[in-house]
Amino acid sequence: MKKTFLSLLALAAMSTTALAADIKPALVYGTGGKFDKSFNEAAYAGAEAFKKESGTEYRDFEPTSDTQGEQAIRNFASRGFNPVVAVSFAWTSAMEKVAAEYPDTKFVIVDSVVDLKNVRSVVYKEEEGSYLVGLLAGMASKTGKVGFIGGMDIPLIRKFGCGYVQGAKAAKADAQVFQNMVGTTGAAWNDPVRGGELAKNQMDQGADVIYAAAGASGLGVLQTAADNKKMSIGVDSNQNYVHPGSVLTSMVKRVDLAVYNAFKDTKDDKFTAGITALGVKEDGVAYAIDDNNKSLITEDMKKAVEKAKADIIAGTVKVHDYMSDNSCPK
């Protein structure tokens, strides 16, 4: 009896939300998993924000392999979920196939481009955000040596590194940048111990600010920097709070906005397909300042980084994109 009552209640609750908004959004994460404190978690945060605001439930799925990712996207589409958002470039080919099979469903892919009429492709200008934090790193460094630790050695991560180097050199022309990657397999996103070891190694060479673009491995970098009274820079989500006073800033990539906007635009019937490239100008990438790192950023640094930001928006400073020619200017 109690159970029937409960299910009736649940049914009532569901039907009211169905009335409030007639969409069934779905979200497919990258293989890194939902709670990586970084990229995927930002997507999750965007979906949660939408749920909180609109009361609309969403479904999500964490694939463990490329085959499963395609299956998940297709499963959502075939069950009438709309829009279907997939974060990570790994789903590019899966989305090409599935989006063509379901032309009436709206799809969004983050970090890659799929050229179809019902797909919105959201890409970020990570090099611009990395340039800004690189500038801050160059100014904050006392030794003139800064470090970069990437996750898996793929073009996307080199794009982060390349922007960072340009920023650091803009601050100090003779700045030295050490670059290391955690690894070559997917495990590289989730190896904080190795991240910490690499950070230690760079510190031994004299680096005193280290930028980690390495998913959960980056947490090891942040930890090691805090333990050794050096500074670090977080990535994707705002990670300033992880070690207040040691994390100089974070290169925030607003994956949450991409997910949130996808859900909201579909709800408001304002969905548009095509490529959206989010840079500094669109607030798609940014450096983070909050109470946790206020004391680390001096007035001069703030002025310089705001000027750089304005210059990028105005187009007077052009940050080279590694992906455009698979190389980085020396």
Partner: protein
């Protein structure tokens, strides 16, 4: 009296015992599911339906099973020679390079059935080459094969990422992968085979490499139990000193066994690279090499057992994905727990029930 020496008829050792082990595993998995607040019977229904309920579900199950058959055979062949090859993962990864190079070179000029034999050779040759150095180190230097093959998995991953990021990548593309093969470099799907049973394959990537896997099962059976080389490998596996005393060349047998093992692992890439995604991707192996170890253990290193175990793991992979899709409470980590329980009961604890069954059976068996 010990029960270990009592022999049981085949239908008990190969039929009843694995079935009971599987039921035990399912029982404990059910407990776990119940404990996190979901209905275990409902979960089982989703798992079985998700893996076997529809044509495309069966297609996905068999697609996964195909990869596991190759890697399972790879582990089994080495195991018969007393070598524990943990490197199937890396050998399959590098094997993919062989298959992809053949496909990239030929797909513009010839149809798939011309490409296929070269791709098989390419995949096997690259996989075997990757097994050669650990094999040589084991045979000549006594470096333990478990350690060296594990290390070669990482070296293989580094090599492949380097090649995909620097050499084989399509310029300007985000994902580190080769271009998509034309139909001449793809293995066709087996929709006609499914149609024979009145099933629709749909989008499942079940392809010709399944048939190649079955042929390899037969060839492995032939090799191990019907050839001189197989006999030498088995002797070496049971007792290396006796084998050497009997005049079986240790170095040669170890190296050949590992080359065959690596070649079989390399052929796994036919399924994933040429059958499913039609291009070489980073990390396409996705753990199939390690699953091969479990498959080989469960299948008692016999091709028939390997096929059955591979299908079981295919069911767990495909059904598990469907289960976590239908029941969001059951996360992907829960699926790994369930797979682990199956390996524990059906693989590691395989003899747990044997003494009890022997006691039960003895009164009838003595007549």
């Amino acid at each position: 009296m010990t029960t270990a020496s009592v022999s049981l008829p085949g239908w008990i050792s190969y039929g009843v015992i694995p079935l009971l082990n599987l039921l035990l595993a399912l029982f404990f998995s059910g407990l776990v599911v119940w404990w996190i607040g979901e209905d275990p019977f409902e979960a089982l229904k989703f798992l079985v339906q998700g893996a076997l309920g529809r044509g495309d579900a069966i297609g996905f199950t068999l697609f996964y099973a195909t990869s596991f058959i190759f890697t399972g055979l790879s582990v089994a062949v080495a195991f018969h020679a007393g070598l524990f090859n943990i490197g199937s993962e890396g050998q399959a990864y590098v094997g993919g390079l062989g298959a992809a190079l053949v496909a990239l070179a030929l797909d513009r000029y010839v149809p798939w059935y011309v490409t296929m034999p070269f791709a098989i050779l390419g995949a096997a040759a690259f996989g075997a080459a990757w097994a050669f150095i650990p094999a040589w180190l084991q045979a000549k230097r006594g470096s333990h094969i478990v350690i060296t093959t594990i290390m070669f998995n990482f070296i293989g991953a580094a090599l492949m990422v380097y090649l995909l990021v620097h050499v084989l990548i399509v310029p300007g593309k985000m994902a580190p992968e080769t271009r998509t093969f034309l139909p001449g470099g793809q293995l066709p799907k087996l929709d006609w085979l499914m149609a024979l049973f009145g099933l629709k394959l749909g989008p499942a990537p079940f392809n010709v490499s399944f048939l190649i896997a079955l042929v390899m099962c037969f060839l492995v059976w032939l090799l191990i139990w019907r050839t001189k080389l197989g006999y030498e490998m088995r002797t070496l596996g049971i007792s290396p000193s006796a084998a050497v005393y009997a005049g079986i060349p240790y170095v040669r047998t170890v190296i050949i066994a590992m080359l065959i093992s690596g070649g079989l692992a390399g052929m796994m890439s036919l399924n994933a690279v040429m059958g499913a995604s039609a291009r070489l991707q980073v990390e396409f192996v996705a753990g199939a090499g390690f699953v091969g170890i479990a498959v080989s253990l469960m299948g008692r290193s016999h091709p028939v057992g390997i096929v059955l175990a591979a299908i079981l793991f295919g069911v767990l992979y495909q059904g598990g994905a469907d289960l976590s899709f239908e029941m969001p409470n059951i996360t992907r980590d829960m699926i790994v727990v369930i797979q682990g329980l199956v390996i524990l009961f059906a693989g590691a604890l395989e003899y747990m029930l044997r003494p009890a069954l022997v006691r039960l059976y003895q009164p009838f068996g003595r007549t």
